[in-house]
Point group: C2
Chain length 140, copies 2
C-alpha cells in the first residue's frame, strides 16, 4: 500500500530526538525509547541499521549511548528514511537485473516508477533534521 513503515517513522523520530538531546554526550537507548514510546527491543534493530550506515555512533559501558555523527543540518531525511526502509524505490523492478523481468524492455510503466522515485528523492533530500526542528519551534 505504499506506506512508510513503522521502522522509517520511528527512525526519523529517533534521529530528531538525538538532534535535540545529544549535546551533553551519548543518550541511552532506554531514554529515547521512553520519550518516544518505542519498545526498547524493537528500537535496537533500528539503531543497528542507523549504525551500519554511520548515521549515529555508539558508546558502550556506563554513561554509554548513541550520538549523531554530523550536525543536524547535515542530515537530509532521505538518507535516514532510505536507511531504515531499505531503500525508497517504489517498485522492485528498479533494483532488478535487466533480464529478471521478461517484459522489462517494453514495459510502459517503468518510466513512471523511475520518475516517481526521483520526485520522492528530491523532496526528502531537501529537508534536514535541523529544518524540521526549527519549523517545530516556530509553530507552537
Amino acid at each position: 500500500m505504499m506506506r512508510i513503515s513503522t521502522k522509517g517513522r520511528y527512525a526519523l523520530r529517533i534521529m530528531l530526538d538525538l538532534a535535540q538531546n545529544d549535546d551533553l554526550g551519548p543518550v541511552a537507548l532506554r531514554e529515547i525509547s521512553e520519550r518516544q514510546n518505542i519498545t526498547p527491543k524493537y528500537m535496537e534493530s533500528i539503531m543497528s541499521m542507523l549504525l551500519r550506515d554511520k548515521l549515529v555512533q555508539s558508546l558502550r559501558g556506563k554513561a554509554g549511548g548513541y550520538q549523531l555523527t554530523r550536525k543536524p543540518e547535515e542530515y537530509p531525511i532521505y538518507e535516514i528514511l532510505s536507511c531504515a526502509e531499505g531503500g525508497l524505490a517504489p517498485v522492485h523492478c528498479l533494483a532488478m537485473e535487466e533480464n529478471e523481468c521478461p517484459i522489462r524492455r517494453t514495459c510502459l510503466t517503468i518510466p513512471v516508477w523511475e520518475g516517481l522515485h526521483q520526485v520522492i528523492k528530491d523532496y526528502l533530500s531537501g529537508i534536514t533534521l535541523k529544518a524540521l526542528i526549527e519549523q517545530g519551534a516556530n509553530c507552537v
Copy 2:
C-alpha cells in the same frame, strides 16, 4: 517498505491494455489476463475496484467485457493507482482522527508526510494513460 503493490502495478498495466485495445468494443477479462500474464481470478478483484470508481465499465453476456469510460488523455494515473492501492498517503496518520494519535499535535514529522503526499500526487496527476502510450511508441 513504501512500495507500490502488485495491485497498483497490475491496475496500471490493465488500464494501458484497455486504452490500446478497447476501440472495437469490450475486452474480455480473459484476454487481458493472458496478454498481461495476470491470473484471471486475481484480476477480477482489481477490476471490481476499477469498476467501483467508474474508471471502467463492464458488459455481461457473450461478447461482454470491459471498456474505458473516458478517453485515455483523461486518465491521470494518480487516480488509477490511488484506486487500486486504496489511497497513496504515505502514512496512516494523515487519514486518522485528530485525537487518534497522542502525539499528533506536536509531532515534528507530520509536515514531512503531508508534503511527501503532495509531491507524489502532483507528479502522478501530471501523467495520463495517453502520455505513457505515446512515449512508448517513440522509444522503440
